[in-house]
Symmetry: C2
Subunit: 156 residues, 2 copies
């Protein structure tokens, strides 16, 4: 018989824990390398952070408001590490606010995220975290390639 | 009020979906590079795959048998890509078998994983997936640095 693995409150705590770690990874990059350094022709970590910012709050807003808006990860106003960290912290608050508006039934309903990804809401949200861990793992390699010790993975 | 985000059956499906993707990443490496290539002094992807093998089934066995055994990621018998893929597929079956022996109450109990990580079972298991996504993200950078297109992240 299947039972609860994770509650909705635990999911939010888990997500915000991952976001605290990603924040430390952003902080670990020197200013210039955050915007310019990459390996294998991939995007610099600033662009990956912008992608994560473009998913979290806009994705939650869509789910709460039952609308689909094309994905837009451009964040041209974020030009410095301080800009990105400020946007990150603003998102932290907004995530708590919007997440807590999702009703129990809504987690199980389908939502066409960004007009592209038609899945149950809980699967969309799991993807938000998976995608963040995936790109952050990429950031760990960039830091190592720069000779910088990344933060401990298990600290949240 | 907090409600179910994810059921125990959904967690297993989610985990095995990630493992199918990691299997495709192992397959994408050329034989030699799987065992030798890395970036920034990190471990080659074969060693990361061995770590994942050393966590999944041994970790589940501990949880089911209520025992703590020191972590051992050496897998000296895995010398080729075919060896690793075979061990991967054997683990797939054993994961299903052992996971289904975990009782509803057990998911909420603390377990001292490998005698080192004292957390509720569901948190230990979440960590298994997080750690896999993290290291696989690292593997994506290795593949890109080798000029190889990695598998689509969203395909499971």
């Amino acid at each position: 018989m299947s039972t609860t693995f994770l509650t909705t409150a635990e999911f939010l705590e888990h997500w915000q824990g991952h976001r605290r770690l990603t924040r430390r990874v952003i902080e670990a990059f020197p200013e210039k390398e955050l915007f310019e350094f990459s390996v294998g022709g991939m995007r610099p970590f600033s662009e990956l952070a912008k992608e994560l910012l473009a998913i979290a709050v806009p994705g939650l807003k869509e789910i709460v408001n039952r609308e689909s808006i094309p994905f837009d990860e451009k964040r041209e106003n974020l030009k410095t590490k301080a800009d990105i960290l400020k946007a990150w912290d603003e998102s932290t608050e907004l995530i708590n606010e919007y997440y807590n508006k999702i009703t129990a039934e809504r987690f199980r309903e389908n939502h066409n995220l960004f007009g592209q990804y038609e899945f149950p809401v809980y699967q969309n949200l799991l993807y938000f975290i998976d995608n963040e861990i995936h790109h952050r793992g990429q950031g760990y390699v960039y830091l190592r390639a720069l000779g910088i010790e990344p933060p401990f993975f298990w600290e949240r």
